[in-house]
Symmetry: C2
Subunit: 480 residues, 2 copies
């Protein structure tokens, strides 16, 4: 009977259609594993080639995805990216710091599902190798170095960072690199260097809350740039803002933006820099997720397009906290011609870096193995991203939009009407589940229906269950 009508279709296509129908009906849901090729071959009494062809077809339609050495899985429905932001075009004071502190400090039962965390799980890091590097590095610390080299920071570490820039095609000397206590100090010092109280600063909307807090604390005003969840800051809007306002600096993340995970294409990065240069506005480029790209090649930072001879200044801020050594608190600014001035500011703020951590990192980088670690870390994050996106597609209310980042460890969700991420935060926290509500990422506490989830932790049935629970809490909001 059904074999009659289906006879017109090749065998593999017939199989593909049947599976697609199961997905459409909800019998097969995102994240479900398809039967293996061998199982299907036996069950359907067809050739392995037929099954492969069917699976290729489904994969090409984006309905399933292959996971190396694990098989085929049902993919989430085509990603509905969150709506592009439409912040108010005039500069304004930032009033989010208190909320951020409240949220960061909110307590409940022990968090067992840290979706709100800012860090990936430290279990993904080569802690034992780092420890050995710490021991080896400490043997080389001379008594003189401990105080004499304090202001400029560990020389070999700055050289190792310069070497990594070189591999990206950037010629940066160790002297241009100012070591800081994590990227957060780098960002704070850069903002202090470029601005005076009352100045306006361009930021993305949504943007990293610590940058907003820094702007608030320094008495600056924020101008928010509409930002696309896939390609980052909107340059047309930026051009208008640059014409009409008088920003003193622009702060943004051009790769794996926090919280969107957006990646600005290389051409757009070049255009961004040209635009800023035309207005003489320096860029603070927060690039702390640079190493966490899922594609084979790293994304060049905006800094890569900086012409040494022109006026465009890029303060490129990096860190080892997200890719190698959480808790060591070692970051830096590649500050170009502004390095001496930034160095002075660093000296006034906290003198120099902590020698044990710097020596450990220098030793680890010299020994090699960083790239091997990074490859494993990227694969793990990518797998975890897939698992989380599957879970969201499965458990969150229909109409939920989400990003599908190609790097980093954050996904940004927009709940359907009725969703309220601050209320969801409270409910989830009471059950040991954390999340980062959207208003944390906005100067004016917008994005009430959005939230950021961290997929930086090893995916377990417990996390899966927590995500399902979060989805059902969100669904209840949207029904009410």
């Amino acid at each position: 009977m059904s074999s009659e009508g289906a006879a017109a279709l090749p065998r593999y296509q017939q199989l593909a259609e049947e599976l697609a129908a199961l997905m459409a009906s909800g019998a097969l849901r995102p994240g479900d594993r398809l039967p293996s090729v061998r199982q299907t071959q036996r069950a359907r009494r067809c050739s392995a080639a037929t099954v492969f062809q069917a699976y290729y077809l489904l994969e090409s339609r984006g309905l399933i995805r292959a996971a190396p050495r694990s098989g085929y899985f049902v993919a989430p429905p085509p990603s509905q990216a969150p709506t592009r932001s439409t912040p108010r075009p005039e500069p304004g004071p930032v009033e989010v710091s208190e909320l951020v502190f409240q949220l960061l400090g909110s307590s409940g039962p022990a968090i067992h599902a840290p979706f709100g965390s800012a860090f990936p799980s430290a279990a993904l890091f080569p802690l034992e190798k780092l420890r050995r590097a710490l021991v080896a590095g400490s043997r080389k610390m001379s008594a003189e170095q401990l105080t004499a080299d304090l202001p400029a920071g560990h020389e070999e570490l700055r050289r190792q960072i310069a070497l990594r820039y070189l591999r990206l095609g950037l010629a940066i000397t160790p002297d241009e690199i100012v070591l800081t206590h994590g990227a957060l100090e780098a960002l704070n010092l850069s903002l202090q260097l470029l601005t005076r109280p009352g100045d306006a600063v361009l930021v993305e909307s949504p943007g990293f809350y610590a940058a907003l807090q820094a702007i608030e604390r320094l008495g600056l005003r924020a101008i928010e740039i509409p930002t696309d969840a896939r390609e980052g800051a909107d340059l047309q809007a930026l051009a208008i803002l640059l014409e009409r306002q008088q920003p003193r600096a622009c702060w943004l993340m051009s790769s794996w933006q926090n919280p969107l995970g957006s990646l600005m294409p290389a051409d757009k990065k070049r255009a961004l820099l040209a635009l800023l240069a035309r207005h003489g506005v320096p860029l603070i480029e927060d690039d702390v997720y640079a190493e966490l790209h899922f594609g084979a090649q790293p994304a060049p930072p905006v800094k890569a397009f900086e012409a040494r001879t022109t006026g465009a200044a890029v303060l490129h801020c990096g860190s080892f906290s997200k890719c190698l050594a959480p808790g060591y608190r070692v970051g830096w600014v590649a500050a170009g011609r502004l390095a001496p001035a930034l160095q002075r500011l660093k000296l006034s703020n906290s003198l120099g870096g902590s020698w044990p951590a710097q020596a450990a990192l220098a030793e680890y980088l010299q020994a090699g193995g960083f790239d091997l670690h990074l490859r494993g870390l990227r694969r793990a994050l990518q797998r975890q991203r897939d698992a989380m996106l599957d879970g969201i597609a499965r458990h969150f209310p229909a109409g939920t939009r989400m990003t599908r980042p190609e790097g980093g460890y954050f996904v940004w969700l927009e709940l359907p009407p009725g969703g309220d991420s601050l209320a969801l935060h409270g409910q989830a926290l009471a059950e040991g589940i954390s999340l980062a509500p959207g208003p944390m990422f906005s100067a004016r506490r917008e994005f009430g229906r959005c939230l950021r989830l961290n997929y930086g932790h090893r995916w377990t049935p417990a996390l899966q269950a927590a995500l399902a629970r979060l989805g059902s809490l969100a669904a209840a909001q949207c029904k009410a």
Copy 2:
């Protein structure tokens, strides 16, 4: 003949007078070793008791001093303390940062006599024991701790710091302690917490240059308190300043002040706090030299007199950089009821502390041995102070005034008319000798005839020669 007139004097007194005359004539000079008791006994054919009595008499007059297990040495002439400062009573902007950076960054041949250094020699520190503590501490770092405990800082380290306060009689809980990247971050955060741009802050004159730089950078104004080289800030003057100005905070060092080395007596500390409390002015107490007392007992900080129930807030800033672990960059603020607010500021400024350094210090303190190390360090510094004061008395121009600190590792000199410490800095630097010129320590670049010398390095013939050279350069200025 002379025996006739001298016969009226007892033998020991006669001996003492002869030695005193040799000192007065310059035949015996400060730092010269006296013949041993046995040598003198033989040479003079008298009893050991006679020699001892003579030496006791000279010591009681301040003409010689005993060095345990080394013998007796000619003491410098009675210490002429530098003149008390008389800063202008009205608040004003600070304009010293550029000068400080120039001086800190000035280059010349390799410095072989680091009298301008801000640190004691790292050779005086238990670096190998610290290294072992680093290794042991790193074994205990759990993956979770590396990120989860970041904001509050290493718990065991805070507990160990609280235990040290307890030994001073101060009941401070680990929760009141905010760990910072050295005392410099502690100071910066404290100033940021208590002030807004334009506010006036009370500081000592002369005072630590980094505090003046922080005031300048934060857009504050400084009110300088006249400060005595022996007993610190003048409370009568302070009372008038508190009446007439509206300071938002007071920053000072009540023990082994930098650069004076002054120690405020305990009663005066209590009175200071009462005075500040009456005007509702909080105190930032920079107490980084607390452990470096030469007397048997530590000096209680002003914080010790803080009543928990009253409004007087003392932010007590400490550090391990000067007494145990230079280059590790671990300091703290005991901030009492202001701790939560300060913790937030710390979070915004640089997130948390560096784990390897914190873990190493926690391990070192737990293992014991810190007090043993401190006893040795204090003895070494005291010996080096004596050597330096002897050298100054011997080689610097007549009329040079100097402090005789009972703790820390700085001596403050006031050259006679004609002296110019900035010019001296340039001349000395060209010969590989550094010093810290007086104008670094003043909001308005005063103290042009003063300089700070560091005696924190092992005393060697080379240092002795460098000090002599410095003295002759100064003498040439004063003759000209």
